[in-house]
Structure formats: C-alpha cells, structure tokens
Symmetry: C3
Subunit: 377 residues, 3 copies
C-alpha cells in the first residue's frame, strides 16, 4: 500500500468509525426509557465485534500461508463492516435481551458473517469480484435476517400486544435524529468503503437526498391525520442508502441511483405503516427498530436492480452465468443468516443467561444505576 | 481534476455536508416545543434544495455548450452552498410555516440565489474573481434578506406579542449547542470551500475563537443581572465566521481576522439585546432565530472590511473600479433577494397552503405523531 | 512543509478540533443542572486557551531568532493540545468556579504547561525526542495534577458531603455519552497528532476497544446489584486511550496496546468505585469528573510501561540514561503542575472574583437566563 492510499484510508476509516459507534448506537435511542442501554450496549457490542472480527478475518485471509495476523487500517475497516452487520442484527432484539445475551449474539453473528464470506469465496471462486465479499448489501441482508430469526425464536405470547415503553419521547426522538443523521451523512463513505470513487459518493448522496424527501412526504400522506411519524422517517430515509449500495459500482447515471432510492423508501415507508404490525401478528416476529423493512427489503431490491442493470449489458451466455452466481450468493447469504439466527435464538433462550422478564423490557432501570433523589425539573 | 484534488474535495465535502445537514438543522432546535420540526424540516428543505440547485447550476454553467449536467463532488459542494443559503433564510420563518410552504420557499430561494449568480456573472463579466460567485458572504446576505422579507410579508398583528412557546428549555438549549458547535467547528472548512488554503482555515479559526470569547463576555455584561443568554451566545459566536469569510482571501494577518471577528460579534451581541425586539415593534418583522443580526449585519461588515483592505493596496484608477464593482455586487444581491423575498411572501400567504394558525406556531404537535400515553419522568 | 503534509495536517487538525471543543465540552454535561455551563464554559475556556497558547508557543519557539509569530495549521494543532490540557484540568473544578475564575485558571494552566515544555526542552537538551514535548501523556498528567491541586486549595468543609445536584439524569447522561463517544472515536487521531502513522491509529483503536468492553464489565461486576454506572463507564472507557498514548511509538504489537488498555481501565474502574470517595474524605480533595483516576493514573501507568518496553531493548549504559531522563521528565512535569496548581488555587480563593456559594454549585441558574414561564412537559 502506497503512502497516498494510507491517508485515503484514514479518511474513510474515520467516517465509518463514526457511523458504527455513534450512528448505529444512537439510531435506536428513540425508546423512551432505553436510551442509556441502546447507546452504551451498541458501543459494547461493536467494540467486542470489532475485536472478534479482526481475529477471524485475520485467520481466514492469512490461511494457509501462516498464522500471523497483520493488523492495518484496512483490517480495522473490514472489522468495522462486520460490526455494522452485528449492529443491524441487534436492532431486531433491542430491549429484549440483556448485555450477556447481546455479547453472545455478537460473537455468533460475526462468526456467521465471516463463515458466509468464506463460503462465497470458496464456492464462487471464479467470476466473483472481491468487493462483493464485503458488499454493504450483504452486510445489511445478513444482519437483518439473522436478527429477525433470533427475534422470532425469542418470541413469547406476551409480546403480541405493544409494550407500554415501546414509544418515542421528545428528547429520545431528538437523540435518535442525531444518530440517524450521522448514519445518513456518512453513508456515502460507507458505500465507498471498498472502492474509493467519487462517483460512488455522488450516487449514494443523491439517492439519500431523494430518500429523505420521499420518507417525510410518504409518512405524512399515509397517515390518516396527515401527521409524520418520526421513527418511520428516521428509518426510511436510510433505505435509499442500503438499496443503492448494490448498484453504485455498475452505474454512473444519477437518475438510476435516485429511482432506486425512491423505490426503496416507498417500500420501506409503506412497510412501516402496514407491514410491521402484520409481521408481529401473523408471524409472531417482533422487530424493535424494523430491520427487515429498513435493511433487508431495500437490500434485496438493490440486489435485483443490480442484476437487471448488469445483465442487460452482457451477452447471453455471460449474462446467464452472472445471474445464477448473483442469485446464488444472495440465497446462500440468506440461508446462512437464517440458520445462524436459529442457532443463536436457541442458545439465547437458555435460562442460564437470566433473560429479562417482559415487564422489564425496554427499560434502563434493569441495567443502570440511577441516583436516588427524585429529579425536579 | 487530478486525483489529488479529488481526495482533497472529499475532505471539504464531508465537512460542509455535516454543517449543512446537522449544524443548521440543530441550530434552531432551541425552541422548546419545535425541536422535531426544526431538525427534520431542515433536512427536508436541504435535501430538496440540494437536488434543485444541482439541476439549476448544471444548466446554468453548462449553457450554451450542451444540455447535459455533469455531476461531480464539486457540483454537490456548490449545491450544498446553495442549500446553506436556503437554511439561513429559513431561520427567519421557522415555526411559522408548514412543510409545504417550506418546500416552496426552498425552491424559490435556490432559484433566486442561482439567478443572482447568473446576473453577477453576466453583468460584471470582467474583473470579477469567480470565487465571489459562491462567496460565503453573499450566501449569508442573500439568505438573510430573503428570509427577512418573506417573514415581513407573513407578519400579522398577533405576532406583536411574544409567543408563549418561543423560548428555550434545558434540553433543547443543549441540542442547539450541538448544532452551533458543529457549525462553529466546521466553519473554517466552509470558508475555504472555494479556495483550499490553510491560511483561510487559520484566519477563520482565530476569528471564531475571538467570537466565542466575546459573545459570552458581552452577553453577561449587557444583561442587567450579569446572566448569559444561551441563544444569543450561540448565534453571536458564529458572527465572526460570517464576517471573516469576506476577507480571508485578501489578508493573511491574523490580527485583521481577529479584529473583524471582534467587531462582528460586538454588533451581533448588542443587536440581540437591543435591536431584535425593536425590529419587531418598529418594522413588524419577526425573525425567529435572528438571521438579520447573525448573517446579514456581520456579512455587510465583512464586505466593507474587504473593500477597505483591497482599496488601500491598489492604485487610484483600479481602486475606484474595484470599489464600484464591489459595492454593486452587494447592492444587486440585496435587491434580488428582497424582490424574491416579496414574491415568496405573496405566494406563501395564499390560503391554499393551509398556513398554521397563530396558536399552533412553534409546536411539533401540528406535524408529528406523538404516543398517546402520558410520559412519566 | 510540502503540499501533501498540508492536507494531512488538515485531516488531523479537524479531528482534534472536534475532540477539544465538542468532546471535552460535552463529557462533563452529565451533571443534572449544570449542562449549559459545562458545555459553554468549556468552549469559552478552550477558545481562550488556544489564543493564549498560540502566542506563548509562538514566542517560545521563535526565540531568539525574531519576535514574529508564524501561524500555521501546525501552530493551531499545538495550541489545541495545550487547550486539551486545560480542559482536563478544568474537569477537577467544574461546577465550583465561575467563568472569570475559569478564565484565570485557563491562562495560568496554559502558561504552566508551556513553561514545563520549555524546562524539559532546555534541561534535557540532548537525547530527548521532540514528540515528547507534546506527548499526550504529559498533557493528561500535567492537566490532572494541576486541576487536583487547585481543587484541593478551593476545598472547604461543606464539600465533605455529596452535593444534592452532583448526579446524572436520563438526558444529561446521554449528552455526556455523546461527548464521550466523540473523544473515544477521535482519540486515535489525538494520539497520532505528533506522528502521523497508521500503526499509532491501530494500536490506540484496539486499546480503546478493550477499554470499552472492560469498563462496562467491571462496572457491572463491581456493583453490589450488578448495575452499571454510566458516569464510571464513560470515564473509564477513555483510560485506555490515555495510557496507550505513551507506548504507541515504541511498539507495534497489538497485544501490548490491548494489555495496557486493559490494565488502565482496570485501575480506572476500581478507582471510581473505591478510591474517589476515599480521596475526598482522606485528602479533602474533591474531583468533579475524576481527572486523577481517568487522566493521571492511566498516564503514569503508560509512562512506566513505555519505560519498561524501551529499556529491555537497549544496552545497559543507554538504558540507564534513558530511564533517568524518562523518570525525570515525569517528575519535573508533576512538580511544575503541582506548584502552578497551588499558585492558581491561592489566586482563585481571593474573594475579589466573587466565588459561588456552596448551595449554588453545579447549577446553571447562577449564570444563565432561563425563561420565566414554567415548562409543562
């Protein structure tokens, strides 16, 4: 690596570092009584995931030459992308798990993510472009399905009704806005983590701009009283960034990126209004911050948009081969994440970890010391 | 553009991106019941303004060669500077307009700003340095006068008395502090958006440091009980950055930058204490965050400081020509912004946009879904 | 300085700028009623310290060639490191001093810090590596001892019992989390302020990751009810960054950095649980944010770790010389900071500055205008 690349990577490293530790951490602070936990446990989970991912990645990519792990800024960026996947997954189980469960969850998720990369690398040895291995789309899809599956296994009948503390307050909503904006502002750097091109930054930027406008408009239009839901908007305005990450390297046309951003936000906004409660009732699957709608659905949309964009440019034989590879990578990722999610769910259900009782869900009181004196405003 | 410039622009782009979307957004969160709206609607307005500015700038600068818009990081930086102008203007009408009105406001403001650039470029074809076109001073002056004029036209008699919700709370004041600090910290990058020189960064930095100290001292000294007003301090500490942006390219002497920072903060601090209420009573002009005092007055001060600094260095003939050009550019900008502000005000008064009633001003309840259950602290 | 270095320094400058003005400012916002003051007075103190340090450094390093101060980005970075030292010191007297006292405190602290550098530079002329002069360890140690000594002299008997307002609230705790995270995320840039090496960034990063996990685990384990103390965690997770700053240039082994991070957090966490109250009772020394435990103790640990790491690699004669120099620099720094702290304490005790009464400690009401109307949530 030349000296110039060193400094470039410092630029992207710092942006992704801020996203992972600040953005994801504060994204979920909207829960009225769970803000200490969601911000601090995200840091805990991410710090643990980064270390574990550095070790796993080190062995995976150094094998079989020697067993020494080289740590460079590039390794830390890769490890942070694995941690981002864990934080996406964690969104589905936020508030329903204690810190010990979260740490186990993080270790299995990172392992699953690295195993998935190893499978893709080994099976699709030829014809695959390496940046797919850390593709932001796969990070989002793997994390979302993993988290959903774990959440499904941790489900119990009390969760059918909405928990009293599962709501936003004026203050926590603003903190979540901070987290969201940090993710939103640094998402262009996130999408260009593997390929440093200004075209990637421009496409992601425009897609996110469309997303922000669409998310607010749709939230107001789909509400019976014309009022905007802050949590829906915060989540949906990121959907454009997830979806566009799949296509940024194959197209430079801004309108393509903007259309994909629009469609992703459309799906995500409507999903929040109509799908989220349905998921809970029909599939017994509780999703605290809506990872399925924010990360999985736009991710899959982007993945298929990329397929169409590429296939139309190739001749028939190569196009078919490309399509098969492309779809198989997606299917393998979904399968591995679902299987690992089931395993995690089974492990976390074990009463040895002293899981929280339902009435203590979404509550900082269970984990944090608070001063005894009553606070007078 | 060489590869080195590409990476440099990434540096400045990210700083300005943070300023525009986070800094301006949270600057106005101090209103006790309007924090959701001020942070989210700023993002909405900025995201819309950026897209519209990209299109307008693209056509303006590509004309007459072809009709194809080239999108590069540079275009996005220029578009963000236009959006910054819109956000400055928006400060004057914060809390008194609904999102639809704000979007129309943004579209006209950006159009006006680009038209103003086009006039300056066409009329003052020779002898003008291109960086003036996007000069941070003109951005601030155009935005401030535009916003003031619109606000003047939206005035009605009920606004004579101070609205009950137009005040700061402990929490919203801190959020506004965050926004202010982000603007304050990244202002050196903002001022060097057109010319990447470390001397610009140093001068702006020192001017802002003087500003911060002066703002707090003056707020305490000008108060009868020696108490500091948080909102005044937050606004005045940015005045140094506005004023110095006019002179950073013509002088490298730190003491000049620091003196200008001092004078700007002096005007701004005293303006907040004595001028703001007077404006409301004498001119029926309500200015929510004080854009006239924070952006227009320091901007004009800086503009004339620049005139004096330049003229003393030139011989008589060139000096006169420079002075005429310099003053004319300012006058044109003020005129265009006032005219466009009047047009916007007339359009926004139309009852078709369903403007808010006075008792719903500065209140999130009108636009946002809140959970029904009462929050117990 | 070449053009490439100019842009590199812009990168580090901005990160350190954010740390100093945002990170340190919001780190101490956890006090329930003192958040306006802690965030705004930190900006005031830092802005003053930066200007004073620029002047002092300018004269110190330009002497005897001429009396002209060259201001470059490098000067501002150095000045910000001095300001960081002041902000560390200020942590010990937060909430117990008024703004005028804080400004005097800042001016003396910066003077002391620059004098200390001048002594080290003059006395240990040969054999000293220049980066020691601005070593992050010395910044932390000097600041912490200075602040502690001043706090000791300002002690009076009422402070024996815990002040009613010296506690955290849900909202202020989150703001402090923001400040902490900004320090934590940008600490790698802070440690590499004098030597821009990616190995420094990686070591600091890993040490801080270990620190974050350890701090949360220890806080829960050392509590009788297994509950985590947010303020302890926020402070302890930075200890790894302080300690590792001493060794980053002498070792590239990640496990060394991680072990030092672990030990520093161990000392810091246990110090918060068991030492902090003891300090108050036994030594009449009140330390608002725990600077002794967060900055001084990990700093000394790192300093001795560096000694051991270096000495084992050198031959006997050089090793002894190095050890003597190394220990003497530490002792000189501690002595100068203690002496200057005593002087500052004596000056600040003077009733001319109108010090606050005990019942007004830790309260924004004394300094800030608040709206008269009661806030209804």
């Amino acid at each position: 690596m030349t000296s110039k690349q060193c400094h470039l990577i410092k630029l992207y490293f710092q942006d992704i570092h801020v996203m992972v530790f600040l953005g994801f951490g504060f994204l979920a602070t909207f829960l009225v009584r769970y803000a200490f936990s969601s911000s601090a446990f995200s840091v805990l989970v991410a710090a643990m995931a980064v270390q574990w991912a550095t070790i796993l990645n080190g062995f995976l990519w150094s094998y079989p030459s020697d067993w020494k792990i080289q740590i460079q800024l590039k390794s830390l960026v890769d490890a942070e992308l694995c941690a981002a996947s864990t934080l996406v997954a964690m969104g589905a189980v936020q508030g329903k798990t204690n810190p010990v469960q979260l740490l186990i969850f993080a270790l299995i998720e990172v392992t699953g993510f690295v195993v998935n990369q190893w499978i893709i690398k080994t099976v699709f040895q030829t014809g695959i472009r390496t940046q797919w291995l850390y593709s932001i789309v796969l990070i989002n899809i793997f994390g979302a399905f993993f988290g959903m599956m774990t959440s499904r296994l941790l489900f119990h009948s009390e969760m059918q009704t909405k928990h009293e503390k599962e709501k936003v307050s004026r203050t926590t909503g603003l903190f979540a806005m901070f987290g969201t904006l940090f993710l939103w502002m640094f998402w262009p750097s996130f999408n260009s983590a593997q390929e440093w091109k200004t075209s990637v930054i421009c496409s992601t930027y425009l897609s996110l701009a469309v997303s922000a406008v669409t998310a607010m408009a749709l939230s107001a239009l789909s509400s019976s009283k014309g009022k905007i839901n802050l949590v829906h908007v915060q989540s949906s305005m990121l959907a454009g960034g997830v979806a566009v990450s799949a296509v940024v390297t194959s197209t430079h046309d801004p309108w393509v990126a903007m259309t994909i951003g629009l469609c992703a936000t459309l799906l995500s906004s409507l999903g929040f209004r109509y799908l989220k409660d349905h998921l809970l009732i029909a599939f017994d699957c509780h999703d605290t911050v809506g990872v399925l709608i924010v990360h999985a659905v736009p991710g899959i949309l982007g993945w298929f948009a990329e397929l169409i964009l590429r296939v139309t440019k190739l001749n028939y034989t190569i196009a078919v081969k490309f399509a098969v590879y492309h779809i198989c990578i997606m299917l393998v990722t979904v399968c591995v994440s679902l299987i690992m999610g089931v395993i995690t769910g089974l492990i976390l259900k074990w009463s040895f970890w002293k899981p929280q009782q339902y009435n203590k869900y979404y509550d900082d009181q269970a984990y944090w010391e608070f001063p005894h004196l009553r606070e007078h405003k």
